[in-house]
Symmetry: D2
Subunit: 98 residues, 4 copies
């Protein structure tokens, strides 16, 4: 089952700057070979369900190892069985209608 | 790694009523033996990371089997390594300060 | 336009405990006379759109006044024009199908 | 109070394709003169709180007018009082650390 997610990981107890933790997640996503897009309020990732959610778990583990005692994450996750759709398809579908 | 999540599963392409799909998810959560609380905009679940996210995947698979061609889900997921905290602890912690 | 929201306000830069900020939000919601339900990962609120989102803004202002330099909030917001539905209706609709 | 939001509007009861509704929201955002960025799982918008959330309300009203009986929306909203930060700043801050 393919999934496209939007991932926003927020470490608590480490001050106001969270960019180094987000950067660590990007290395994890890239090392997993998953396609992703960073945006101003999260990161979109596409791939097989188990691999994508495996990466989310690894992000939590890594951020705790980096010293964050608490993490709260928001995820949007989309699956569909009627047809294949990539992240690029979704953006293109809106742009052609604007 | 323990996790508390808030899960809100939204099937698309099946009309406006989504309650039977949410009810199917509740059976999956209960069969997994996980503690959960239904609220008006989702369901809170607590347990070990792999088991909790395994249930989320099973919910997507089941809802597709029930006929929904597309699903969009919103998840909040919290982990902490400084101390144990249950769903009941979180609610109690706010209530004692109100 | 009536709306039901799920509100989860997360102050950053104030350590790991966020319950006193959530409690402050509850006072704001109650003072506004809005119906709400606290759960383990947020608070559900129902009412007229402008009043509900006015409360969300007041929560951000109050939490900043309490000393939080940064806040990240997750909101789910539902509206429907086919029929009236309260928070209690939504929970009941699922429970009768479980 | 400046805010950066991530907006994901999901109409229910209108089939599986939601791109024309998202396109309608983009026209509303542009007509309001707000800076925004479309991504594969939502749209980021930055501006003054009242104007940004006014646009969110207008999106719900327009999508109902277009025939959707029900809408469920997910919003992430960030405010900070320690310093100014744009959407572009947030992305740049992560990129320089990767």
């Amino acid at each position: 089952m393919k999934v496209i997610i939007d991932l926003c990981v927020v470490p608590l107890g480490v001050g106001v700057s969270v960019s180094k933790y987000v950067a660590a997640c990007h290395e994890i996503i890239n090392q997993a070979g998953l396609k992703s897009e960073l945006h101003a309020y999260g990161t979109n990732i596409e791939g097989e369900w188990d691999q994508v959610f495996g990466v989310v778990k690894t992000c939590h583990e890594r951020i705790h190892e980096m010293g964050a005692p608490r993490i709260t994450t928001t995820i949007k996750a989309g699956t569909r069985i009627d047809r294949d759709q990539t992240m690029a398809d979704k953006v293109a579908s809106v742009r052609e209608k604007v």
